[in-house]
């Protein structure tokens, strides 16, 4: 009994923080999504109106499409590239410290610095990227100003500033693979690609699956890139669900509608997590 008392004494500060700033907001989101509130006047209950309004917003469908598209592109860049990079880095015997240092450097920058830096690179006139294209006599691109390239431009920034941590995590996982497995595979006549396929990937499967989930969850809530670089434009081509949520709340002062959209996003992520969990379980059985 006394032990419990002292233990809860040690726990009380954390319980307060978690209750008020982590657990309660989840409940609050649920309540919020059925209320109409601007934080000034007392809230009123409106049933499912918030969900209806959110779904009927002209940008709603586009925001989901963009988010999915962003996630897929970010998976191609942000998920596959770091793994391949880590594979190559793991084979190199020189300059390892330098390469590891350099790839992690952008991760240390505040995201706003990376985003504003790339905003300048994307400048259609004197921006670095179009100057490089011009140097090779290639036609300039509109980057952020065209609805066809805006989204991939955002993916590029977010890959640049985030891939370092994924790369280093994969690298550590690769170094944990017992060398005997490669030797055995080689004795059995497996070539390099077969060794990757039958040794490396199965051995790193767990971390690959975990990172896949983290990556998808992280990109599903992309916000700072559209907020700073495009404001959702051109023609809603880069509105993400998280950005739309921000707009509902802070441009339209409609917190209930933002909460409803947040609930939908949470449900989508939960659904995804459930599918993923099921897939991995079947895989194992």
């Amino acid at each position: 009994m006394r032990r419990n008392l002292t233990a809860y004494g040690f726990l009380c500060a954390a319980l307060f923080c978690f209750t008020v700033f982590a657990w309660y907001p989840m409940v609050r989101e649920f309540i919020l999504s059925f209320q109409k509130t601007d934080l000034i006047n007392p809230p009123t209950w409106v049933g499912l109106d918030n969900f209806k309004a959110a779904v009927q917003d002209p940008a709603f469908g586009e925001a989901w499409l963009n988010t999915v598209e962003f996630t897929v592109l970010a998976l191609l860049c942000g998920y596959a590239v770091p793994f391949v990079v880590a594979l190559v880095l793991n084979e190199l015997r020189h300059a390892r410290a330098y390469l590891r240092f350099v790839v992690y450097l952008p991760v240390m920058l505040p995201p706003i610095v990376a985003v504003l830096l790339f905003q300048w690179f994307y400048d259609p006139g004197p921006g670095l990227f179009n100057q490089i294209l011009g140097f090779f006599h290639l036609p300039p691109l509109a980057w952020l100003d065209s609805s066809s390239t805006a989204l991939i431009s955002l993916v590029l920034v977010s890959t640049w500033m985030n891939m370092g941590s994924a790369t280093l995590i994969y690298l550590a996982a690769l170094q944990n693979i017992p060398p005997e497995l490669y030797e055995a595979a080689e004795l059995d006549g497996a070539g390099i690609l077969k060794r990757v396929r039958h040794v490396t990937i199965p051995q790193t499967r767990l971390i690959l699956l975990l990172m896949l989930m983290l990556q998808i969850v992280a990109t599903m809530q992309v916000f700072i890139e559209p907020y700073m670089l495009t404001g959702g434009g051109p023609e809603n081509a880069t509105v993400s669900v998280a950005y739309l949520m921000y707009q509902f709340a802070f441009s339209q002062m409609n917190y209930g509608q933002a909460g409803a959209l947040g609930m939908l996003l949470m449900l989508a992520l939960l659904l995804f997590a459930a599918i993923q969990l099921r897939a991995t379980r079947e895989d194992r059985a």
Partner: protein
């Protein structure tokens, strides 16, 4: 002069090792024997490519080619943007808008740094950010260490339920509960109050997870010995658990400070007074209103603190990155 016999044995030895290396009988002309054999690529640990393949003549060539390509590519992709940012800040507004741009500033001048410092009011912004980061670190260390210690060593009733509920918050993406969190902060009157950042920072399931897992690995005997000597739970934490937990405390500290320094969305909503903004939010608000070289000056100054942290704590950061993820 080497005697004929010696050359003969040397040839045989080399031929043998070479045929081993290439996996087939090698016919090497006598002439090549005298050439110094290139230093083999040292292999500390076995990876996908076997040491034999790596040290075969073609393996070696491909290896150096790939190495050079990777170094050049990485430098271009991850170092050149920094170079461009810094030289951009050293250029004049006219030179920075030139087409094609100059690779090296014609007349480098640090004026943009000073202008950016004044225009963005970077002194205030940096002081704010450092204050919030320091506070978040101090508060969340006290709260999370105490909680992890209670869950790991004191093991109260429902401890596992609480731990599970804390870890479950890791599954909820921060953006999803951003709006209700903001509403909660407004309800509590914590707008423009640093506690509006410090309380949510302490509610960090990942810190609790890392700390608890480390505390779990501390041998029971150590704790029990202290208890027999009459140490109370607080004394055990202070004199036994904390001193042996230095590595994990370092990792958690660095990650908390870096995360707090980099945070954008929550400070954007909570710290809205221009006197109280963080550096990220301040830059984002003013960047549109100043010249490009001044923006770059501001970005360089904003980037420097964390780059310095990285230089100093590189090993801890990389260790922490893998400690948290691999076994999790």
């Amino acid at each position: 002069m080497i005697s004929r016999e010696k050359v003969g044995t040397a040839y045989r030895d080399r031929a043998a090792s070479r045929s081993e290396a290439m996996g087939k009988g090698a016919r090497i002309p006598i002439k090549r024997v005298r050439r110094r054999r290139p230093k083999p690529i040292h292999v500390q640990f076995r990876t996908i490519v076997s040491p034999h393949q790596l040290n075969s003549p073609w393996g070696r060539r491909i290896y150096w080619l790939v190495l050079a390509a990777v170094i050049v590519l990485f430098t271009l992709a991850f170092v050149f943007p920094f170079y461009w940012m810094i030289t951009g800040a050293l250029k004049t507004p006219e030179e920075i808008a030139e087409m094609p741009p100059s690779l090296v500033p014609a007349d480098p001048s640090p004026a943009a740094f000073f202008e950016a410092w004044d225009l963005f009011d970077i002194g205030t912004l940096l002081a704010n950010t450092a204050y919030y980061a320091f506070g978040a670190w101090l508060f969340s260390m006290v709260v999370d260490v105490a909680a992890a210690y209670a869950l790991s060593k004191l093991r109260p009733m429902f401890g596992n339920v609480i731990l599970g509920a804390m870890l479950a918050t890791l599954m909820i993406p921060p953006m999803v509960i951003l709006i209700p969190l903001y509403v909660t902060i407004v309800d509590l009157g914590l707008l423009n109050n640093p506690w509006g950042l410090w309380f949510p920072a302490a509610a960090n399931g990942f810190n609790i997870f890392l700390l608890k897992r480390f505390f779990d690995s501390i041998p029971r005997e150590l704790v029990e010995a202290a208890q027999i000597d009459g140490a109370g739970p607080f004394r055990v934490l202070w004199s036994v658990v904390l001193p042996v937990s230095r590595p994990i405390l370092g990792v958690v500290s660095i990650f908390t400070i870096v995360a707090s320094f980099k945070d954008f969305v929550l400070p954007l909503l909570v710290m809205t007074d221009s006197e109280k903004m963080t550096i990220s939010v301040g830059l984002s608000q003013t960047a549109g209103a100043v010249t490009q070289n001044q923006v770059m000056g501001g970005l360089v100054i904003a980037g420097i603190p964390m780059i310095i942290v990285f230089f100093i704590f590189q090993r801890h950061i990389m260790a922490g990155l893998t400690a948290g993820s691999i076994k999790g």
